[in-house]
């Protein structure tokens, strides 16, 4: 697949129409700036607005104030630009197993974007899937297996294949490894990094683990109650956090992942 040029993301003062409580929007004036070609992490507690942010970037949640731009597209794009926009942005969802057709063949699920957004024929899609699967470390022989027969790690790889099928300039990953054990998690993150290097696409990862961001991301934005409270290079933000919420997250995370050995039992 020919890759598109990496695209950046600019979000200015985004306020969602949906609210977490009466009068309190889920995103309450959120700013986000993602450099083209970078790997950018989004962290924050439950309810901070991480998933809603991704839905705003995909044009699935409308904002009533502010602006969202991905590359040259204003989001949500006007109808004539929608297919081109859909090809520009790939999504790796959190629930990989649930996002694949459980009874349809893998090649069909993986080429959904190609068939719908790029108008590729059935035979071409079948051939494209055979070429895509090895790129994400899957045996091409899996192409004819049903979605429901894949393990969690295999399903997450298939979702990545689907996300890169149209050669997107931006890949969004919503907690792509939160359901995986550490061994699978590291292998899927290494794969994401490799695919990003190969395609040159920008990668935006919503992560539940701060260590994942520190190891795999260039930059990070910390969300709290629908606002970006801290942003910067991942190593700086996570080693010397400034905002009190970032500090709380870093300390809670370090507390349970002790350096040099576990603490004494209470």
């Amino acid at each position: 697949m020919s890759g598109r040029e990496a695209v950046g993301v600019e979000v200015r003062g985004a306020v969602t129409a949906i609210e977490r409580a009466p009068g309190v929007p889920v995103l309450a004036g959120l700013d986000l700036s993602v450099r083209p070609g970078s790997c950018h992490g989004i962290v924050g507690g439950s309810g901070s607005g991480k998933t809603t942010l991704l839905r705003v970037l995909l044009g699935r949640v409308t904002i009533r104030a502010g602006s969202v731009t991905i590359g040259r597209h204003a989001v949500p794009p006007p109808p004539p630009a929608r297919l081109e926009f859909a090809r520009t942005v790939g999504l790796v969802p959190q629930d990989a197993v649930g996002s694949l057709d459980p009874v349809g063949p893998i090649w069909w699920s993986v080429t959904e974007g190609l068939r719908i957004q790029a108008g590729v024929s059935r035979a071409e899609a079948r051939a494209a899937a055979t070429a895509l699967l090895p790129r994400v470390g899957l045996d091409p022989a899996l192409a004819d297996r049903r979605g429901g027969e894949l393990s969690g790690g295999q399903a997450q790889r298939a979702c990545l294949a689907r996300a890169i099928a149209t050669g997107p300039g931006l890949i969004l990953a919503d907690e792509p490894t939160s359901a995986l054990d550490p061994v699978l998690e590291a292998s899927v993150l290494d794969l994401l990094a490799r695919v990003r290097a190969e395609t040159g696409a920008t990668l935006l990862i919503v992560a539940h683990s701060l260590a994942v961001v520190r190891t795999w991301c260039d930059d990070v934005t910390v969300l709290h109650l629908g606002r970006a409270v801290e942003r910067g290079p991942a190593t700086r933000v996570l080693s010397a956090p400034i905002h009190e919420h970032t500090r709380a997250l870093v300390e809670a995370s370090a507390d349970l992942n002790p350096g040099g050995g576990p603490p004494a039992n209470p």
Binding site: D181, P182, L184, E185, V212, P241, V250, P266
Partner: protein, 285 residues
């Protein structure tokens, strides 16, 4: 028929849970395609002790938990070995014997706190129902309030009237803990309890379980791939790989210097993805 021999009252059971040579095989569709979920696992949780069972997806953690809770579908799986919970052989116990253990002497907290409650009923009414299953109704209100207090939820009348979707994930996980400790169980079984919690809630949960252990003296069996949680809560860690014990020892031994092979691979992947054993971030000692 009963093949079990419960511990007589008045005698303290030296172990809460004893598993010996547990082997569970799921028959495959074709001959020779049988899958051994557990291939001969032995472990012991002493009274008041805490043991973590760690391992990759598919290593057999959930099958082991299902055996301990007497929930394994024995019509489908072939089971060998022995699993004793407070002296009752749960693999051969009757439904009545299992009912006397589950919810009363054994409390369970799972990963899917949303699925743990019926969405149509208030959390208060569901906790009350769980209490009445094992105890007279007259004591219910007090027991529910006490369990909620121990679980760190302020048991105001408003809270009891909330339905599950009106509570946050952290609150629901605490409500699940309250349900598990209603009858002051001697053994708490925790199956991936923090997988759906963020870093702050995860630490809260670890602190809560540590406090409960200190207050009630309950033993803990923790199945998880969160090695940080295992290190915090467990005296001993058993690493499973493909249904077999790949490493066993104190948390410091297993996580500090894991034996070569799958246990080491798991610990090293954990260090990369969770930061365990890495440089301590600023501010945290």
């Amino acid at each position: 028929m009963s093949g079990s021999s419960p511990t007589p009252p008045g005698r303290t059971a030296p172990t809460s849970l004893s598993i010996e040579g547990l082997r569970v095989v799921w028959p495959g569709r074709d001959e020779g395609a049988d899958v051994a979920a557990l291939g001969g696992v032995s472990l012991t949780v002493p009274a008041g002790g805490a043991v973590a069972v760690a391992g990759e997806s598919g290593s057999g953690k959930s099958t082991l938990v299902a055996c301990v809770l007497g929930l394994l579908d024995r019509r489908r799986a072939r089971v060998e070995g022995r699993v004793e919970v407070f002296g009752t052989d749960v693999l051969r116990a009757s439904d009545r014997e299992l009912a006397a253990l589950r919810g009363r002497r054994v409390g369970y907290v799972g990963q899917l706190f949303h699925a743990a409650f019926d969405p149509l009923f208030t959390v208060g009414s569901q906790l009350a129902e769980a209490h009445r299953a094992h105890a007279p109704a007259a004591a219910t209100d007090g027991a529910v309030a006490e369990a909620l207090r121990l679980a760190g939820l302020d048991a105001g009348p408003d809270l009891l009237r909330l339905r599950p979707h009106e509570m946050s994930g952290g609150m629901l996980q605490r409500a699940q803990v309250a349900a598990a400790i209603l009858h002051r169980p001697d053994l708490l079984v925790l199956d991936e309890p923090t997988a759906a919690l963020d870093a702050l809630r995860r630490r809260e949960f670890a602190t809560l379980v540590a406090e409960l252990r200190a207050r009630t003296g309950a033993a803990v069996l923790l199945a998880t791939h969160d090695l940080g949680l295992a290190a915090r809560l467990a005296d001993r860690v058993v690493v499973l790989h493909r249904g077999r014990v790949a490493a066993a020892g104190t948390a410091a031994e297993v996580l500090g210097s894991p034996p070569d092979g799958q246990a080491r691979a798991l610990v090293e992947a954990w260090r990369r993805t969770a930061g365990g054993g890495g440089e301590a971030p600023g501010g945290a000692a």
